[in-house]
């Protein structure tokens, strides 16, 4: 198929339905449409099997721009509409794209865009932290908090109810017995079997989007690194990429390589941790301790060479913060060699245990159709046959020079999600070695950076959880006017609700770990 066939099909379809649009080839193909056509166009896109990637709003002084990103035939498509004046209102697209629901509710809570015909319009992020008709992202909402009162408990949230004898409700969290992030899970069970699970998040809302406003790009990258601690490289790169694209900043090749090295290191650390975590949740402690050891060694090297265990603040606008010298490259390669050998040995060992396999196979089954409807990303999607990897599909430097191994499973159970992680880790080991060997020489940061005021762009990178997105608009002084980071967990959390049905409630922890969404990344 030639590059533009998908556009022609789309345009014909839009014409047929009398949808007026203005198309522009910006960073990605951008369609500006009327707000009334908002749900119609998503219907068209759904018909064309486009993948939904994100929806967010941007408050300009008195009006609001709303964007939705789709991916059609591996090409990104940005749909945009403008809501000129209050009351802001937009047709909901969550009937076509169920995964859009939470993002829409988030947008409503923070921007005040009401959604028409939404199947679910309960509040999402707000809890009781600010007043009902106040919207933090509007200009008149103060950045500094005005009251130091404790936020009331959100006791009246209307959870989904099940009627009938022998149905029992089990509330879990937001405070858990282990040291994990807070999230509330409401189960309806019959005996041990889960009838329904409903998630409730927002307990770690930090006001990231609000405090980002007015920050300088350098300050924003610091903030981005802290959106979700386990994805700090991905978030920073994403934000940096958006700013650099908006201002046409060229990043030196060596810096691009170093960024990829950092990102792959983050991926490996998290995958290794998850592999152990999944095994631990079925009482297989051996795996947990071994992976904890590997991960610890890995992170110590991070601290030693990149100055931070979680690689925070390693990426700056136009490059990276620290260079590595040939000795450090050697030691990284050596470490890579030992860790990957230990990893292989460890995987060989755990694959020998039928009782572990018995526990993980068929547990938490996510069918391909559901995964596709929800637009699952990363290992959750790839374990259910959804092949989305930004490094391959929409490859950006330096991944355009390296072949990223194709990892795809179709069983959709916890075991597949574990295997996808194992294979991705191995592929990252190879990639890392290639990157270290092929590291280009030159500067690590572009010293001549001029930021373009009033520009905007998207950053898209392949975080370890999957495709990660950041939208950034600069104001007239070159500071941040809007920052919206879309963690892949937005699209993976709903999958957990779907895959737990008909499993036993005792298997929830392992299913949850196999999805391992970020709480902090979606609470923002």
């Amino acid at each position: 198929m030639s590059d533009n066939t998908w556009q022609q099909i789309l345009f014909t379809e839009l014409k047929r339905l009398n949808i007026t649009y203005k198309s522009q080839q910006l960073q990605y193909l951008t369609l500006s449409i009327d707000a009334t056509d908002w749900s119609k166009i998503s219907n068209v896109l759904r018909g064309l099997e486009a993948r939904f990637s994100g929806v967010w709003g941007d408050v300009l002084r008195t009006n609001i721009d709303v964007y939705a990103l789709f991916s059609l035939e591996q090409h990104y498509l940005l749909v945009k509409t403008n809501l000129p004046e209050p009351p802001f209102s937009l047709p909901s697209i969550s009937t076509c794209y169920p995964a859009a629901n939470r993002m829409e509710r988030h947008m409503r809570d923070l921007l005040g865009v009401e959604l028409q015909d939404s199947p679910d319009d309960r509040r999402w992020t707000r809890h009781q932290a600010w007043k009902d008709k106040e919207y933090p992202l509007h200009e008149n909402f103060p950045i500094k908090r005005t009251s130091y009162k404790k936020t009331d408990g959100d006791c009246k949230y209307p959870f989904f109810q099940t009627q009938g004898s022998s149905v029992c409700e089990v509330p879990v969290g937001p405070i858990h017995a282990g040291i994990i992030e807070p999230g509330h899970f409401r189960f309806q069970v019959i005996g041990e079997t889960v009838l329904n699970l409903e998630q409730r998040f927002g307990y770690t809302h930090k006001g990231i989007e609000k405090i980002a406003i007015g920050k300088t790009p350098a300050q924003l990258l610091k903030l981005a690194a802290r959106v979700s601690g386990d994805s700090s490289v991905a978030n920073t790169w994403c934000a940096a990429m958006a700013i650099e694209t908006a201002s046409n900043v060229k990043v030196p090749e060596r810096a691009i390589y170093l960024r990829a090295i950092l990102l792959e290191r983050e991926r490996i650390a998290n995958h290794i941790g998850d592999i152990g975590g999944i095994c631990n949740d079925v009482g297989f402690a051996f795996a947990h301790h071994q992976t904890a050891r590997l991960r610890e060694l890995w992170q110590r090297t991070n601290a030693q060479i990149f100055n931070h265990r979680l690689l925070m603040d390693t990426i700056v606008i136009g490059g990276v913060a620290n260079d590595i010298n040939p000795d450090q490259i050697q030691s990284l390669l050596q470490e890579l060699d030992t860790i990957s050998r230990d990893f292989d040995q460890f995987i060989d060992i755990i694959q020998d245990y039928p009782s572990l396999e018995d526990r993980l196979a068929t547990t938490g089954f996510l069918p391909h159709g559901t995964a596709k409807a929800l637009g699952c990303l990363g290992y959750v999607g790839r374990a259910s046959g959804i092949d989305v990897d930004v490094r391959r599909n929409n490859s950006y430097p330096p991944y355009d020079k390296y072949k990223v191994q194709h990892v795809l499973h179709s069983d959709g159970d916890v075991l597949s999600r574990l295997q996808v992680r194992v294979e991705e880790t191995r592929s990252s080991f190879k990639l890392l070695s290639a990157l270290l060997h092929g590291l280009a020489s030159g500067d690590i940061v572009n010293s001549k950076i001029t930021l373009l005021p009033n520009s905007q762009a998207l950053g898209i990178v392949a975080a370890w959880r999957g495709e990660m997105l950041a939208f950034i608009r600069l104001d007239d002084r070159g500071n941040i006017a809007r920052y919206y980071p879309r963690d892949p967990s937005w699209l993976n959390w709903p999958a957990l609700e779907a895959l737990i049905d008909d499993n036993i409630i005792a298997d929830f922890p392992v299913c949850n770990k196999s999805v391992n969404g970020s709480y902090s990344g979606v609470d923002l």
Partner: protein, 321 residues
């Protein structure tokens, strides 16, 4: 010539019971130590369980708002029951006066009593986890108890007595004979013990995941000395099962006479038997993942079948011989 008040005997009972109770945390410490070494980890000190108990005893008790008398009494009932149960098991010496007061069927009853109150207390405070834990515990024990009784009956038929002391003595006197019935009963009892003491693959004593817990889910709301008593009782229970298995199926070394030398030998024997049992337990726990909850009934019906086979093989093969 029955001494109604056998002072020396009762003194031994008291010593033995307290040894049972005070050495139980050491057994748990030993298991943890072994497990750590088996998994290439640095182990905490063998005395760590004592320190944990000490710490808990010095903490304040926080009671849930709706806790009734049952919730508050439960730790003492459970601890008391375990103490009495410990007093009737021959640890390093047989022919104790206490063993005449209760036999092995009463022991099963003791465990059931403790579990009954534990489950009531778990449901008393009305949290979802307590109810879930209680329901799971009851499911497990409803299946485990028949299996345990079958296994016990096999022993009783072999020894013509349900008195533990007599069983042990009879088996020593028979010498080392390969009895299929006892092999089956042994296997059955081991499976029951794993289920009843909440070890992997049935339950995971060291988990923090509320939703997967069985026993721990019932005691989530306890704190301070109440939690300490419950933890200590679980350790004692583990010890009781361990000693039961060691002394009934491998009775050699236990003191038949109340003199210092044979008791010393008896003590060394049971200590080494428990250490060895610990090794087997820990290896099994390391190589096995926790099984799915709905597999537990299958696991326990295997225990029941094995015990029943023991009983049948006794009747078919060994009666009259």
């Amino acid at each position: 010539m029955l001494d109604l008040i056998d002072f020396k005997g009762w003194l031994l009972v008291i010593i033995q019971t307290w040894m049972f109770v005070f050495l139980a945390p050491l057994l748990v410490g030993w298991l943890t130590w072994l497990k750590c070494h088996l998994q290439n980890r640095r182990a905490p000190s063998l005395l760590q369980p004592y320190r944990n108990l000490w710490r808990l005893f010095h903490k304040d008790v926080l009671l849930p708002k709706h806790a009734s008398l049952i919730f508050r009494m439960n730790p003492y009932i459970v601890a008391g029951v375990m103490l009495i149960a410990a007093s009737i098991i021959p640890l390093f010496v047989v022919r104790m006066p206490s063993s005449a007061t209760a036999d092995v069927i009463v022991l099963v009853g003791f465990f059931a009593l403790a579990k009954f109150f534990q489950s009531l207390a778990a449901m008393d405070i009305g949290t979802a986890f307590g109810g879930m834990g209680a329901s799971r515990e009851m499911t497990v024990s409803a299946l485990a108890e028949p299996a345990m009784l079958m296994s016990v009956f096999t022993l009783a038929m072999v020894a013509h007595s349900t008195n533990l002391s007599t069983v042990v003595e009879t088996l020593i006197q028979h010498g080392l004979v390969l009895r299929p019935s006892l092999l089956f009963a042994f296997a059955g009892l081991v499976l029951v013990a794993i289920a009843e003491t909440g070890r992997i693959p049935v339950d995971n004593p060291s988990t923090h995941l509320e939703l997967t817990m069985i026993h721990e889910a019932m005691v989530l709301e306890y704190s301070g000395r109440m939690l300490a008593l419950i933890e200590w009782s679980s350790m004692t229970k583990l010890m009781i099962y361990g000693v039961l298995i060691c002394n009934v199926f491998f009775p050699w070394g236990i003191a038949l006479h109340h003199d210092f030398y044979s008791m010393f030998i008896g003590f060394i024997a049971i200590a080494s038997k428990l250490m060895l049992l610990g090794v087997f337990l820990v290896v099994a726990e390391t190589v096995l993942a926790k099984m799915r909850l709905f597999r537990v009934p299958i696991f326990l019906s295997l225990a029941f079948t094995l015990s029943l086979l023991g009983l049948l093989s006794y009747i078919i093969l060994e009666v009259g011989s």
